[in-house]
């Protein structure tokens, strides 16, 4: 049985004065997490060991922090790609079961929101702003059915192959912890931080 809904709730009428009032109210949410006495630290858990951190700390930043030793080239990456990636992403990165990875031409531009179709054309070559993200993502998540199975040299090689297919590096360029962060992606500098909160209207 469904109870009838109460109709006593106040109806809010919106006037400019209402928003002025809201602007003066204190922050909307806070949890008084610990009232009364509290220690500086509780001491729960155990110190994270160097080994524990190293086993999981696989992130790679744009400045190269986190890149492991090892190296690879597009030539080597091409073979690995055919074996482990092409089934989902197409023989040449043109996409298939999953994302397209390669631009259709070196001229393919960064998506422009004034073009309704541009969203469909995001690839590594025109939309990924950092080459290091490729290494990070391939290493942590790919191949989809065997995530985390690739060795560092394989990940460097695949990264090099995709950068080469996207006309960003040459086939013989070696990618390693020094060279990869220096690759400047075509989409670099094309991203801006969120500024919607500065606007009351849709932005």
């Amino acid at each position: 049985m469904r109870a009838r809904v109460s109709r006593t709730t106040e109806v809010l009428c919106i006037s400019p004065a209402f928003f002025l009032l809201l602007a003066c109210t204190p922050p909307e949410f806070s949890i008084a997490e610990e009232e009364g006495e509290r220690p500086i630290i509780y001491g729960f858990g155990s110190p994270a060991t160097v080994e524990e951190i190293a086993a999981w700390d696989i992130d790679v930043r744009p400045d190269g922090k986190g890149l492991p030793p090892g190296s690879g080239t597009a030539a080597k990456g091409s073979e690995i790609y055919a074996l482990k990636c092409a089934a989902c992403h197409g023989a040449n990165g043109e996409g298939g079961l999953n994302d397209r990875l390669v631009v259709s031409s070196p001229d393919e531009q960064f998506p422009d929101s004034s073009d309704a179709n541009s969203w469909q054309h995001r690839t590594v070559g025109n939309y990924w702003p950092y080459a290091t993200t490729l290494f990070d993502y391939i290493r942590r998540s790919m191949p989809f059915t065997l995530p985390g199975s690739l060795q560092s040299d394989e990940v460097y090689s695949l990264t090099a192959h995709l950068l080469h297919l996207n006309h960003i590096i040459s086939e013989s360029d070696e990618m390693n912890a020094t060279t990869l962060p220096k690759v400047v992606m075509p989409a670099h500098g094309k991203f801006v931080l969120d500024d919607r909160q500065e606007h009351q209207e849709v932005h």
Binding site: V5, S113, K190, Q197, V202
Partner: protein, 425 residues
């Protein structure tokens, strides 16, 4: 007792599954076979009569009922379901069939990037490191020893819009990737003090233990309200929602509330992971893309009447939900004349920040075709835009994320309610 039209859908549960071919076929078979035995998820056998309705006594007051059980089941007459996406990497909440504001955990929307991992809570660990003075490893049991906090808030996927939906589309398919729970866990700030975060740290990385090892960088401005949660609506977080622990980033796009949380690293710059560069970003005007656009803008949707309801001439109570990632909902307004005039709807308390709020509005329908719609206005004064306003602000190629347009439902002359179709290009 079914006393109103809203329950018509619930009285005919199989209607909800008409888009599932296999289900439709099974219903047909049951009908042909007459009365059959069916087994519920809990292993209980119930008799199912022709038409797939469970068999019950004519007069329940004349038959002793079933005894107490260890785990409760919904009535076998209730068959609400999520709708799963084509690739089974997401499912959507049946917004049009829910009441109040809390989403039953089993109907909470899902989105995962490499499936739902199987995790033994006794073996799961959370490692916190980076710009901290005391790197820490916590088991789930150890996390639960910290002072706890609970909060009711929505979680919404930033891609929560079925763009070019046809008329026969439910609210579930339009916007069913928003759900609400009471989450319980530990404030991030408690853990930050425990590990001694360097005051110069202004970004943190949250990482999951799923096969995507999903990572997001969270800027400092969101840390005050963030939590590490282990409970959802009073029980352990459901596996598809992050069991045994998840990050909770209230008001923000769902993927930043990283599920199956296993690692937090404090740093001084964003990590620029795949999800925050190539995926959850949106082209905006000026030939650039917006990044770290975590906050969910204000939105609302009418859940009754909506497709596939039918209505009659006379008084109709319009109901729906409104929410905003910027804070509290200040007002929900309803138009029953295709957007020409707007009326303040009643907000059903409590009105919580960054939470679904239910609204209601009575109107007398004259039986002539019209479009009904709602718009949310939040405490910052932000007004939910029309599709045209949205397109003008962002451009037609801004991609699928953070679209929050006003949704309309067309009341046809005969009483059929359908989705008001809009082209997104």
């Amino acid at each position: 007792m079914i006393d109103d039209k809203k329950n018509d859908i619930k009285a005919e549960p199989k209607e909800q599954a008409m888009n599932v071919t296999r289900r439709a076929a099974l219903v047909g078979m049951a009908g042909a076979a007459g009365t059959v035995l069916a087994r519920t998820a809990s292993g209980q056998d119930v008799q199912v009569s022709s038409g797939n309705r469970p068999r019950v006594p004519d007069d329940p007051s004349k038959v002793v009922g079933k005894l107490a059980s260890e785990f409760g089941e919904r009535s076998s007459f209730e068959m609400l379901e999520r709708v799963t996406g084509f690739s089974r990497s997401s499912s959507e909440t049946p917004l049009q069939n829910l009441h109040g504001t809390i989403t039953p955990a089993a109907l909470h929307f899902e989105r995962h990037h490499a499936g739902v991992p199987l995790i033994d809570p006794d073996r799961h660990k959370l490692v916190i490191h980076g710009m901290v003075s005391r790197p820490l490893t916590l088991t789930v049991a150890e996390l639960k020893r910290f002072p706890s906090a609970s909060r009711i808030c929505f979680l919404e996927c930033s891609g929560n819009l079925f763009h070019n939906a046809p008329e026969d589309t439910t609210a579930q398919l339009i916007a069913g990737m928003t759900s609400q729970s009471e989450w319980t866990g530990v404030m991030l700030s408690t853990i930050m003090r425990e590990v001694g975060v360097d005051p110069r740290s202004n970004w943190m990385l949250a990482e999951g233990a799923d096969a995507a090892v999903l990572t997001r960088s969270i800027p400092k401005e969101f840390w005050d309200e963030a939590m590490i949660v282990y409970a959802q609506n009073g029980e352990a977080v459901r596996p598809e929602n992050g069991y045994p622990i998840r990050f909770l980033n209230p008001g923000c796009e769902g993927n930043s509330s990283v599920k199956w949380l296993r690692r937090i690293e404090f740093g001084d710059q964003p990590y620029m992971t795949r999800e925050e560069t190539s995926k959850y970003t949106e082209p905006v005007k000026g030939g650039v893309s917006r990044q770290f656009s975590l906050t969910m803008d204000a939105r609302s949707i009418i859940t009754y009447p909506s497709y596939p309801n039918t209505v009659e001439k006379g008084w109709i109570e319009v109901q729906g939900i409104a929410w905003s990632g910027r804070g509290k909902i200040a007002a929900a307004e309803v138009s029953t004349d295709n957007g020409r005039s707007w009326h303040a709807a009643a907000l059903q308390g409590p009105v919580l920040p960054k939470a679904h709020v239910r609204f209601r509005h009575m109107f007398q329908w004259d039986g002539k075709e019209t479009v009904i719609m709602s718009r949310a206005i939040d405490a910052t004064g932000y007004v939910q835009p029309t599709r045209a306003e949205f397109m003008a602000a962002r451009g037609p190629g801004s991609g699928p994320y953070h679209r929050n347009p006003i949704t309309g439902w067309r009341l046809k002359g005969g009483g059929d309610v359908v989705y008001r179709v809009e082209e997104w290009g």
